[in-house]
Amino acid sequence: MTRKIKLLAAILLFAGGWIIGSNNNTAPVITSSMGGASYAGGYQPDQQAAAMQSEGAVALRTEQGQVHIVENGDSIQAAVEAAQPGDTIQVMPGTYSETVYIDKDDIHLLGVIQEGKRATMDGLGKLNDAILYSGNNVVIENFRITKYKGNGIMGQAGNNFEIRNNVIVDTGIYGIFPQLGTNGLVEHNVVSGIEDAAIYIGMSDNIHVAYNEVFDSVAGIEIENSRHAIVEHNNAHNNTGGILAFVTPGLPIKTTEDVIIRNNFVLNNNTPNFGAPGSIVSGIPAGTGILVMAADDVIIEGNIISGNKTAGIIVNDHSFATTITMDVESDPNSDRTMILDNVMLNNGYDTIAEVKAVALTELHTGLVDIVHVGSSEGSCIVNRHRYRAVGIGGYGDCDFTNTDSIDNYLVAGGADRRVIHPSERGEIAYLGVCTGCHSYTGRLIGPSVQVIQAMYAGNPEGLVKYINAPVKVRDNFPPMPAQNYLDAETQLAVAEYMLALEK
């Protein structure tokens, strides 16, 4: 015991001497973040989009569709099913226990708040997810969501989404989880008591997460396998980890790049980890302010990072995480981490053995604002002298001091839809669908194209009418399923294509 103390004392003395010796009381060079060069990397929107810069992710409607009112006791899903793209659904205050799924485009699902009373979706601890959407241009606002087993709000490949002003309490795995979507805004939500991440952006591009309060969850805000994301003006407090940007190996989208984490409060994220065994976040040490793992081009700027007991900022690579899978296609390193001015107070006051071990290699003891573990290329920092930092010896000085030139990475007016010329639509629909039952000559399951051509020569509209609502014409043929799910343009295109076929 005595021997241990003596050894520690010797190390400390040595460390103190080294620091005094190397600094020699010279005043450090202070870099001002006011003015100066701004970050020039990141996402370059095309000029046309830049010209029509708007605030949101969903283009403003030029005309409003129908408004459907859902009264307490009614079904929200019934309203979704009745709604057409362009419609708005207003859900009155009350309690709704159901899973709502939106498999159509351009639906605005709005809770109505009256004197503080919200439309509350209550999963009763039994239902899986509160709201699922797969359509584009979906807006979800003003709900209170609680006691679901899965997610509060989950997007699957919907582009151009806005999720705002929702209160999500004690519900399942993720509070808000857009996945595989482009161009989304998640703002002004209050999310707490979540077993994994309160707000989880998974495999998505062009994302803005702002003005949210996330707390009492394992992870506050997670940007995972996503690109061009800004996380700003959020309050992430009392989670296990505050704000995370990382690459999970083994997912089909392999990178996280170009993430700006700025002007957030990241406070006292010391909640013991209650993540499910085996989950990625279950490995996050309690007391993590900001975590960057295997993500590239991450900028950390203007945050107030305080009271996180393991460290204010942890940057590491996959080898640090022993519980995650191996993926040859996944680059394990965090390259080009850029730490600009942040206010960092009282972090790392009760850190973990792994951080202590790294610190000791640099003869550092006590508080830890920043710890970087693993190899990294092109990382930089501004005013490094301010921080209690370990592992940043390889960081250069950034040649910019702010990200003022970047407002957001949203695609103004919404991500473009693939435009297919009607002539191509006809061929696609004919070959993709019709040829399963119709061939040019001879009977297959349905009559031959030649027979159809004889019936509808010069009358594509008549053929459109038929495929919309087929009636049984021939006794010995099975009935044809209606093709009314194809939009009118595609229906006409396929009718014209079919009537013009020559072989």
Partner: protein, 406 residues
């Protein structure tokens, strides 16, 4: 007690499908009647457009959509992953003849179709396939539907192309047990093959070579497209295409409780990654280390490629070694507890989505209902009534020994 029962296939509805398929294919195979007079199709299979350079190009409604990073993963209206096409009608048709011809195996008894039987979802109904010499393989035969979209092949993801994959079974001692020399010699002995290869590969001075054999097999496999299931109609906007039960199942499938869609991601219903899920091996068999061998990575011990679920209802039994006789049992595996089937002393780094979802019996039933909505065999090619070698399958296709339930 598991019991083995011999089951005679096809059942009557399979015969119906077979007849439909035959009718369908004959339309694209104008002349194919006399044994010595095989002529290759000059039209593409259904679903393909013939372009100006005599190449078949896939057309699908999914081409109307986009996907994140063009990876072909997402939700309903999401583009498919990139795919292989661009083969000529003749190459595809030659591939079809080769696929069904037992002359490809060392003992001339086994064709590709023995283990990838179109009447059984292009699998064989066996827990573990049986090769030319009667040896049982360690793994089951995967379905070939939609393999045009896959980037990795074999359960352990060890191959990166259909051509490379084809070399595996052809020359594996426990599969078709042939050698390149023997294979070429045998094909040259068949009167029609040199001419058919010349027709399919007109540019080549010496067309009957192993490269062209696997190219033709690849061409045929890329034509096995299944994208017109009830699910697809729902995805394209037909809200009535799924039954109430199937729709309920879809919502369980994509919920973050069951998390099925996290790996079996639409529209292909696979994310094409390797996952360690810890299914039990058949009794008495050692742990199959799977992708650990491919990537020389202990963390991938027991890892296998996530299979597509399209036409999954047709390909019982399930998992890499066919441990589960029914889709219901395979589904139930996921809710019996993380690692419940991993034996003591076995260290597997289980996938993070293997969790404890506590699905109800009803939810399991609905998941099975939904997976049934992923069936579409409307583009199934016909089995040739005769193949150029004139050989009959020595081990009849349709006599199948199948694991039945408990």
């Amino acid at each position: 007690m598991r019991k083995r029962t011999a089951k005679k296939i096809p059942a009557s509805h399979d015969i119906l499908l077979w007849i439909c398929g035959t009718v369908l294919w004959t339309l694209f195979t104008p002349v194919q009647t006399v044994a010595a007079d095989f002529t290759l199709a000059n039209q593409c299979p259904p679903g393909f457009a013939l372009d100006d350079s005599n190449q078949c190009r896939l057309r699908s409604l999914y081409q109307l959509y986009d996907s994140l990073q063009d990876q072909g993963l997402g939700g309903l209206k999401t583009a498919l992953p990139s795919h292989r096409d661009g083969f000529s009608p003749q190459q595809i048709d030659l591939g079809r003849l080769l696929f069904f011809d037992p002359v490809l195996s060392g003992d001339k008894n086994l064709s590709c179709a023995n283990c990838h039987n179109p009447e059984l979802g292009f699998a064989d109904g066996l827990a573990r396939s049986v090769g030319a010499n009667g040896q049982q393989h360690a793994r089951s035969a995967p379905s070939l539907w939609n393999s045009a979209f896959l980037k990795r092949f074999f359960w352990d993801a060890r191959s990166n192309s259909l051509e490379d994959q084809a070399l595996g079974p052809l020359f594996s001692e426990i599969e078709m047990a042939n050698t390149p020399e023997q294979l070429l010699a045998n094909l040259h002995q068949v009167e029609t093959y040199p001419a058919l290869f010349a027709e399919a590969f007109p540019e080549d001075e010496n067309p009957l070579v192993v490269d062209n054999i696997v190219a033709a097999l690849t061409a045929f496999q890329t034509s096995l497209i299944s994208l017109n299931s009830p699910y697809d109609r729902y995805a394209h906007g037909d809200s009535s295409a799924l039954s109430a039960r199937q729709l309920e199942g879809l919502n369980v499938f994509r919920s973050f409780v069951a998390r099925c869609s996290q790996c079996h991601t639409p529209p292909l219903f696979t994310n094409q990654q390797v996952a360690v899920i810890g299914t039990p091996e058949p009794e008495g068999l050692p742990r199959d280390i799977g992708a650990q061998a491919t990537f020389n990575a202990k963390r991938l011990r027991g890892g296998f490629k996530v299979p597509t679920l399209r036409n999954i209802a047709q390909t019982a039994p399930y998992m890499h070694s066919g441990r589960f006789a029914t889709l219901r049992e395979a589904t139930e595996f996921y809710t019996k507890g993380r690692g419940h089937a991993v034996p003591e002393g076995e260290e597997l780094l289980l996938h993070w989505h293997i969790s404890e979802p506590n699905l109800s019996e009803t939810e399991l039933d609905r998941l099975v209902d939904f997976m049934g909505a992923l069936s579409d065999e409307s583009f199934k090619p016909s089995t040739p009534r005769r193949v150029p070698s004139g050989l009959l399958n020595g081990r009849p296709n349709f006599s199948i020994v199948e694991l039945s339930g408990e």
